[in-house]
Subunit: 207 residues, 2 copies
DNA sequence: CGAGTGACGATATAATTATTTAGTCACTCT
DNA sequence: AGAGTGACTAAATAATTATATCGTCACTCG
């Protein structure tokens, strides 16, 4: 059973990896980005918030975008954590799969409605293929694979199709709801649509 | 066996429905939009192309956007026609489904690469939920339903799941590749990804 | 009457200018 | 040496102005 571990130090960082100041920056960034948006927040604002000069920020991050990525990682971690929590609740593999996705979708949608400005960063991150978004997909795939393997062991799922093809295909299918970029276009048919999609996926997994 | 019939008169039209001038406008629009793009083409350009005044255009179309929709309908008709052609080639229902989607995806991708400017109109149409895009999805669903029903008759496909749920789910799944808006973000993993998605769909249809 | 238009106001787009902001570097202070 | 910064430039963003375009309407002409 994997647990969401703090993501590895993202690209774009600088200087001491473990450092109180870095955390302060990230906290200030989360607060500011969430309230005013990424675009309207200046690096100087963050500097002022933590009581240092702007130049000092750049001892810890390569660029403003690197800070954005750090925030993005936080968001996506939360989404994945919800997926993993759902996964843990499910008894059978099928149930795990269902809850994994419903956790992800619910959390993403919540992010969209409750914290639009942070969500926008995530969407931007997906659009620009930031490492944060890539990592998100990879970790989702790893979790998914875990579920599928479990289902195969317990005999719930078929075993003929190559596992990697299955995982890729399922992710592909669920992307419409877990990729922030795409979710945006499918908001109206929440929450029925993802449920239907998962149903289809589960039918495809039947032995 | 349905054949793609000319789409019903779209919204935004005016005056005589069947009229040589209307066709001239559409032809000129296709040429101009394709060469210079929707944004860079002015209604006056179209008027000049057909040798009439700008005001006359508005005897046939409500707005420039209505002309855009007409062009969009043409594009999407072509895409669906490719899908239907593929469908006709397939022997079994599964084969029809495969070719239906590969026809659609191939034609959409071709549109994207060879006629980017027209493609952009289609994407815009999907984004803004123009009737043209809605009609496209509806007609795709109708064709898909035909295939599924056939497969059920021949015993290729399972019969338990409500047909409407199946169709909706499949469309949902394939949207990543047939919706111009989404296709844009999935271009890199063509053509394998849609194939994998269809494989998944077919597994889900197994009796 | 019906095919077709010039001239016009409101709105959108483009071009220009003015202002902010990202990011660096030489530097200070402890 | 290492924590921290003011002052600076190139690039981006915002504000402003100028221009083009959409869409309508009263109108002409056959």
């Amino acid at each position: 059973m994997s647990t969401i571990e703090p993501s590895p130090p993202s690209a774009g960082q600088r200087g001491p990896v473990e450092h109180g100041i870095r955390d302060q920056i990230v906290d200030a960034a989360e607060a500011h980005f969430s309230r005013y948006g990424y675009g309207k927040t200046t690096v100087a604002d963050l500097a002022k918030a933590i009581g240092f000069s702007k130049a000092y920020i750049y001892k810890f991050f390569d660029s403003k975008q690197a800070i954005g990525q750090a925030i993005c990682v936080q968001c996506l971690d939360k989404v994945l954590a919800a997926g993993e929590a759902g996964m843990a609740e499910g008894k059978t593999a099928a149930e795990k799969l269902r809850r994994f996705f419903s956790g992800i979708v619910a959390t993403s949608a919540e992010l969209f409605f409750e914290d639009k400005l942070l969500y926008d960063i995530a969407a931007h991150s997906a659009e620009e293929r930031w490492p944060s978004a890539m990592a998100y997909m990879e970790r989702a795939e790893a979790l998914l694979k875990e579920i599928i393997l479990l289902g195969r062991e317990t005999g719930e799922f078929e075993r003929k199709t190559p596992i990697d093809e299955i995982c890729e295909a399922i992710l592909l299918v669920m992307q419409s709801f877990m990729n922030p970029l795409m979710l945006k276009h499918n908001l109206d048919d929440l929450p029925e649509a993802p449920t239907k999609a998962v149903n289809l996926v589960l039918r495809s997994l039947a032995p």
